[in-house]
C-alpha cells in the first residue's frame, strides 16, 4: 500500500482514495511509522518496504548492483552445491561399501540430475546476465521471451526431479517439459485457450454480470502484464484486491447469492491464474527458487529418516497401506503440475485423504492430528516434492483466501506448511536421536540402517525383514528374493521343458519301434471271409424276434 501512496505522488492514476490507505493500514494492524515511509537514502521521495525502504530510483540502482552480485553468488552457490553433493555422495559410497549394488544404482541417475541441474543453472544465469547487459537494456521489451525461457528452464528442471513413478502420468505439463520452447508456447496456449473458452461458456450463463466479469478479468490480466517486475507480495496484493473487489461487486451490485459468488470466483481464479501462472509462479523478484533448492537439498540430506524415528503410525507391511502411501506420494508430487491454486490444494487434500486411509487401516480408528502430522512429514520426506516452497508461496499468495482460512483444504495446507517448517528445523532432539549420531547421519558418514543391521546386512534374508529399519529397503530385498526365486524356478521350468522334449522324441521313436515290432510279429494276412449267416454266432434267444409283416384285414 505504500507503493500506492508513492504512485499517487507521481501522479499516477489511483483507483482508491487516499483515505482508504490509512484505514487499510489500521485494519491489517501493520504499524507504519511516518519516518519509515521516506526513502532510506534520504532523497526525499517516499520509499517502499518491498524495496527495502528505498524509493524507486534508489532501489533500481541498488537492485542492479545487488543483481550482479546475486548472479555471481548464484553461480558460486550452484557450484558449491554440486561439489558438496558430489562429496557427500562420494563419502556415502565410501562408507556404504557393503550395499554397493544398491547405492550404485541410485547414484547413477542422481549424478545425471546434478549435471543437468548445473547446465540449467548456467543457462539461466547467462540469460539473466544477457538481460542485464547494456545491449539488451535498450531493448528491454525483449523481457517476456527471456522470462519465458526461464520458466522453460525451471520446467525442464521440474521434470528432472520428478521421480520415475510420476513420469507415467501423461499430464499436460509433463509433456511440455520434454518439448522445446517453441512448442511449449503453443502447448500452453492450447491450454490457455481451453480455459478461456470454458470461462466464456461459464459466463454466458450469467448474462449481464457475466459480461462485466469477463471485461474486468481481461483488463486485469492486461494490467498485470505491465507489472511483471514487481515483488511477489505486491503481485499477490493486486490479485487479492481483484478477487475482493470482484466478489464485492457481484454481491452488492448484482445481488448474486453468496454460493454463486463462490462459484463465479472459483472460475475467475481458474481463468486468471492459468493466464498469469508463468509470470507469477516463482517470480524472479523473489528468492523462492533459492528456498526450493535449500529445501530440496535438506530433504535429500534427510533420506535416512525412517518411520520409527518419526513415530509414524502406519505399517507399510500391509499391502493396502503401502499402496495408500505410494498414492499419497504421487499426489503431493503432482501438485507441481497444476496451475490453478485450487487444483494444487486439491492435490494436497487427496494426499491427506490417502494418509488418513493408511492410518485408519493400520490403527483401525480415525486419525487424529497426532497421527496425521508425522505421517505427512514422512510422506514429504519420501516424496521430496518438486519446487515445494514455490508452490506453497504461490498458493498462499494467489489462492482465494476464504478457502485457505477455514475450509478443509486450508487445514491440510496448514499441515503441509507445518511439515515443511518441521523439516527445516528438524534436529536430533525431534527425532529422539543422539546429537552425535544425528550429525553423522546428516553428513553421510554413517547410516542408521547400517548401524542396526551391521551383522545381518550381507545375507539379506526375508526372515530378517523387521531388523532392516527401512521398509522400502526391506521391500527391495524382498523383491530381490522373489526375483531370484523366480529365476531358479524359470531354470527348472526350462530344464523340465527340455527333458520333456527329449522324452517326446524318444517316446515317438519307441512308439514307432513298437509298432514296427508288432507289425513284424503279426504280419497282415488277408483271409477270405468265411461265408456264414449274420446271426450265426449270436445266441438267437437274446434277440428280439424279427419283425414279421402283418396283414390286417379290412
Amino acid at each position: 500500500m505504500v507503493l500506492k501512496l508513492w504512485l499517487l505522488l507521481l501522479g499516477h492514476d489511483l483507483k482508491k482514495p487516499a483515505i482508504e490507505m490509512s484505514q487499510r493500514t489500521e485494519r491489517r494492524g501493520i504499524h507504519v511509522d511516518q519516518s519509515e515511509l521516506l526513502c532510506n537514502k534520504g532523497c526525499g521521495y517516499y520509499g517502499n518496504t518491498a524495496w527495502q525502504g528505498l524509493c524507486s530510483k534508489c532501489w533500481r540502482e541498488e537492485y542492479q548492483r545487488a543483481r550482479q552480485k546475486q548472479i555471481q553468488e548464484d553461480w558460486a552457490l550452484a557450484e558449491k552445491l554440486q561439489r558438496e553433493e558430489e562429496a557427500a555422495y562420494a563419502s556415502i559410497q565410501g562408507a556404504q561399501s557393503q550395499p554397493q549394488v544398491q547405492s550404485q544404482a541410485s547414484l547413477a541417475p542422481f549424478s545425471k540430475f546434478e549435471e543437468k541441474k548445473t547446465n540449467e543453472k548456467t543457462r539461466k544465469v547467462t540469460t539473466v546476465k544477457k538481460f542485464f547487459s547494456p545491449s539488451s537494456r535498450t531493448t528491454s521489451k525483449k523481457a517476456p521471451p527471456e522470462g519465458e525461457e526461464k520458466v522453460t528452464g525451471l520446467r525442464d528442471w521440474r521434470g528432472m526431479f520428478t521421480p520415475p513413478w510420476e513420469m507415467g502420468y501423461p499430464t499436460e505439463d509433463n509433456q511440455e517439459g520434454k518439448t522445446t520452447s517453441p512448442s511449449i508456447s503453443r502447448q500452453s496456449s492450447i491450454e490457455t485457450d481451453r480455459v478461456s473458452r470454458d470461462f466464456m461458456e461459464f459466463l454466458k450463463t450469467m448474462q449481464k454480470p457475466g459480461r462485466e466479469v469477463q471485461k474486468h478479468s481481461r483488463t486485469f490480466i492486461e494490467s498485470m502484464a505491465n507489472k511483471k517486475d514487481l515483488g511477489a507480495d505486491e503481485l499477490s496484493e493486486y490479485v487479492q484486491d481483484f478477487y475482493q473487489n470482484m466478489s464485492e461487486r457481484l454481491m452488492n451490485h448484482f445481488k448474486v447469492s453468496s454460493e454463486n459468488v463462490e462459484r463465479v470466483m472459483d472460475e475467475v481464479e481458474k481463468y486468471i491464474m492459468t493466464r498469469l501462472y508463468k509470470s507469477v509462479f516463482c517470480p524472479e523478484t523473489s528468492d523462492d527458487e533459492k528456498k526450493d533448492l535449500a529445501t530440496q537439498k535438506r530433504i535429500r540430506a534427510l533420506h535416512w529418516v525412517d518411520i520409527q524415528m518419526l513415530c509414524v503410525p502406519v505399517d507399510e507391511e500391509i499391502p493396502e497401506v503401502s499402496d495408500n502411501v505410494v498414492k499419497a506420494i504421487t499426489d503431493i508430487i503432482e501438485m507441481d503440475s497444476k496451475r490453478v491454486p485450487r487444483d494444487k490444494l486439491a492435490c494436497i487434500t487427496r494426499c491427506s485423504k490417502h494418509i488418513f486411509s493408511a492410518i485408519k487401516i493400520t490403527k483401525s480408528e480415525p486419525a487424529s492430528a497426532d497421527d496425521f502430522l508425522p505421517t505427512l512429514i514422512y510422506i514429504v520426506l519420501k516424496a521430496n516434492p518438486p519446487r515445494l516452497q514455490s508452490n506453497i508461496q504461490y498458493i498462499t499468495r494467489f489462492c482465494n483466501p476464504s478457502r485457505l482460512m477455514t475450509g478443509e483444504d486450508g487445514y491440510y495446507f496448514t499441515n503441509l506448511c507445518c511439515a515443511v517448517a518441521f523439516i527445516e528445523k528438524l534436529d536430533a532432539q525431534s527425532l529422539n536421536l543422539d546429537p552425535e549420531d544425528f550429525e553423522r547421519y546428516m553428513s553421510g558418514q554413517a547410516s542408521p540402517r547400517r548401524a542396526d543391521t551391521d551383522s545381518s546386512w550381507p545375507q539379506t534374508d526375508t526372515a530378517l525383514g523387521p531388523v532392516i529399519s527401512s521398509p522400502a529397503l526391506a521391500k527391495v530385498y524382498q523383491n530381490l528374493d522373489l526375483l531370484s526365486g523366480l529365476g531358479t524356478r524359470q531354470d527348472r521350468v526350462l530344464a523340465a521343458a527340455q527333458s520333456l522334449q527329449r522324452d517326446l522324441l524318444t517316446w515317438e521313436e519307441s512308439v514307432g519301434q513298437e509298432v514296427q515290432e508288432i507289425l513284424e510279429r503279426y504280419p497282415l494276412e488277408i483271409r477270405p471271409p468265411a461265408p456264414s449267416a449274420i446271426d450265426s454266432d449270436v445266441e438267437n434267444d437274446l434277440l428280439p424276434p424279427p419283425l414279421m409283416p402283418q396283414v390286417f384285414a379290412g
Binding site: Q23, I30, I359, P366, A369, T396, C418, A421, E424
Partner: protein
C-alpha cells in the same frame, strides 16, 4: 470478523475456526469425536479422520459454521503452534485432570496465545477425564482460579461419559459471536468488514512473523 459471506446483516452465517491444543493423550480427539459424532472409542466411527471436523449450529437464529482444527500435541511439534492457530477465533486448551504436567502445558499455551493473538481469541481451558475423579491431580480451585486470571473460561468434561462437552462448545460459540459482533460495531462501515473477511482476524504482522520465522513458508504479506 468472520462473516462467511452472508449477504444481509440479519441472516448472515458466522464461520469460526477453533483450534484444539493440548498434550498428546489428554483426549483432544475423543472430545471432538464425541461432540461431532457422539461416539467414544467406538468401532463404528465412520469418519476417516478426526483432525478436521465441522459442525453446523443455529444459535439464537444465527447460523454458525464451526471448523475444529486438531493439532499435533507431541512436544516436538510445539514450535509449529503459531502456524495452526493463526486466524483462529477460538482455542480449546485441553488437559487431563489426572496429569499435572498436561496442565502446565496448557499454561504455556495460554501465555503464547495471548502474546500472539492478544484478546481477539476466546480461550477455553478444559479439564478432561473427570470420570477418573479419584485419580485427580489438578485441583478444581487451582484450575478455575488460573483460568479466571487469564481471562479464559474453565470447563470440566468427560468424553467417555459425554459430560460437559455440548455446553463447552455452545458457550464458546456464543462468546465468539459476541466478539465478532463487537468487532463489527467497532469497525462500523461495511468496507472494513469485508476486508477483514479477506484475511481473517487481524494480523499484527510483525509479531507472528517473528514467531513463524521458522515456517517462512506461511508468511504471506
Amino acid at each position: 470478523m468472520a462473516s462467511g459471506g452472508g449477504a444481509g446483516g440479519s441472516n448472515k452465517t458466522y464461520s469460526f475456526k477453533v483450534v484444539l491444543l493440548g498434550e498428546g493423550c489428554v483426549g483432544k480427539t475423543s472430545l471432538v469425536l464425541r461432540y461431532c459424532e457422539n461416539k467414544f472409542n467406538d468401532k463404528h466411527i465412520t469418519t476417516l479422520q478426526a483432525s478436521f471436523l465441522t459442525k453446523k449450529l443455529n444459535i439464537t437464529g444465527k447460523r454458525v459454521n464451526l471448523a475444529i482444527w486438531d493439532t499435533a500435541g507431541q512436544e516436538r511439534f510445539h514450535a509449529l503452534g503459531p502456524i495452526y492457530y493463526r486466524d483462529s477465533n477460538g482455542a480449546i486448551l485441553v488437559y487431563d485432570v489426572t496429569d499435572e504436567d498436561s496442565f502446565q502445558k496448557v499454561k504455556n499455551w495460554v501465555k503464547e496465545l495471548r502474546k500472539m493473538l492478544g484478546n481477539d481469541i476466546c480461550l477455553c481451558i478444559v479439564g478432561n477425564k473427570i470420570d477418573l475423579e479419584k485419580e485427580r491431580h489438578v485441583s478444581v480451585e487451582e484450575a478455575e482460579g488460573y483460568a479466571e486470571s487469564v481471562g479464559a473460561k474453565h470447563y470440566h468434561t468427560s468424553a467417555k461419559l459425554n459430560k460437559g462437552i455440548e455446553e463447552l462448545f455452545l458457550d464458546l460459540c456464543k462468546r465468539m459471536m459476541e466478539t465478532a459482533q463487537a468487532e463489527e460495531r467497532a469497525k462500523g462501515n461495511g468496507a472494513s468488514q469485508s476486508s477483514s473477511a479477506r484475511r481473517g482476524v487481524q494480523i499484527v504482522d510483525d509479531e507472528p512473523q517473528a514467531a513463524t520465522a521458522a515456517g517462512g513458508c506461511c508468511s504471506s504479506g
